[in-house]
């Protein structure tokens, strides 16, 4: 299984913070997003982390990975 997490305004807009999907062959982070969100595209400014490190939407994700999607960060 792949765990997908959403944070901040994106979590609120989607109305969900975490879900799990079954990997379907070779998947990218974008594939994982689409699989979990009815095939829709993510927002243009979305940031992606795989296993808690920044990654790109075309990075590969594998069973057991945690993929996170979130808006631009605003800490400090």
């Amino acid at each position: 299984m792949i765990t997908i997490r959403y944070f901040a305004s994106l979590r609120e807009q989607l109305g969900k913070e975490q879900e799990r999907i079954e990997p379907a062959g070779a998947m990218t982070a974008l594939d994982a997003w689409k699989s979990a969100n009815d095939g829709r595209m993510p927002p243009d400014n979305v940031l992606v982390a795989i296993n808690q490190s920044y990654a790109s939407l075309d990075a590969a994700v594998n069973a057991g990975d945690e993929v996170a999607f979130f808006p631009p960060v605003t800490g400090g």
Binding site: F7, Q52, A68, P71, V73, T74
Partner: protein, 147 residues
């Protein structure tokens, strides 16, 4: 003492810094320079009064990302050590949000590393601010100020 601290409760930045410096260096005289940045919550933003703020983060990635920034600062400059503290949860105006600090033999490396840490934290550490305004409405902060 850890180099990265995420706090859910208010803290005195100077006490926390003193505690870290004492634990890390004791009576050592290896450093000649300490540079510190602290960020404090304002009671205004984009022309509006802000009553309070909620800071969300990504537990686990936050600590890992801040540690990566410290490792990078140490590789770029001759710093002996660095420290970062950041608040999460409910925050009120005048409370400290963030500390970045760097210790080095000479001032240039400490200044450069300290500035690098706060600028990169703002660009890459997974924190998100949500403001509560005077009328109790809430809004997400969508971007940091340029500096």
């Amino acid at each position: 003492m850890k180099n990265v601290i995420i706090r859910e409760s208010a803290y005195d930045p100077w006490l926390l810094l003193g505690k870290f410096q004492h634990a890390r260096f004791g009576d050592s005289a290896e450093y000649g320079a300490t540079a510190v940045f602290t960020g404090t919550m304002r009671d205004f933003n984009e022309g509006d009064t802000v009553r309070a703020m909620t800071l969300e983060h990504y537990p686990g990635m936050t600590e890992a990302q801040l540690q990566r920034l410290i490792d990078e600062a140490k590789s770029r400059w001759e710093v002996i050590d660095c420290f970062i503290a950041h608040r999460v949860g409910q925050i009120n105006p005048a409370e400290t949000i963030v500390i970045t600090a760097a210790w080095s033999a000479h001032r240039n490396a400490a200044f450069e590393a300290c500035r690098y840490l706060i600028e990169e934290l703002k660009h890459s550490a997974p924190f998100w601010k949500k403001e509560r305004l005077a009328d109790d409405s809430e809004r997400w902060v969508t971007q940091n100020t340029a500096g």
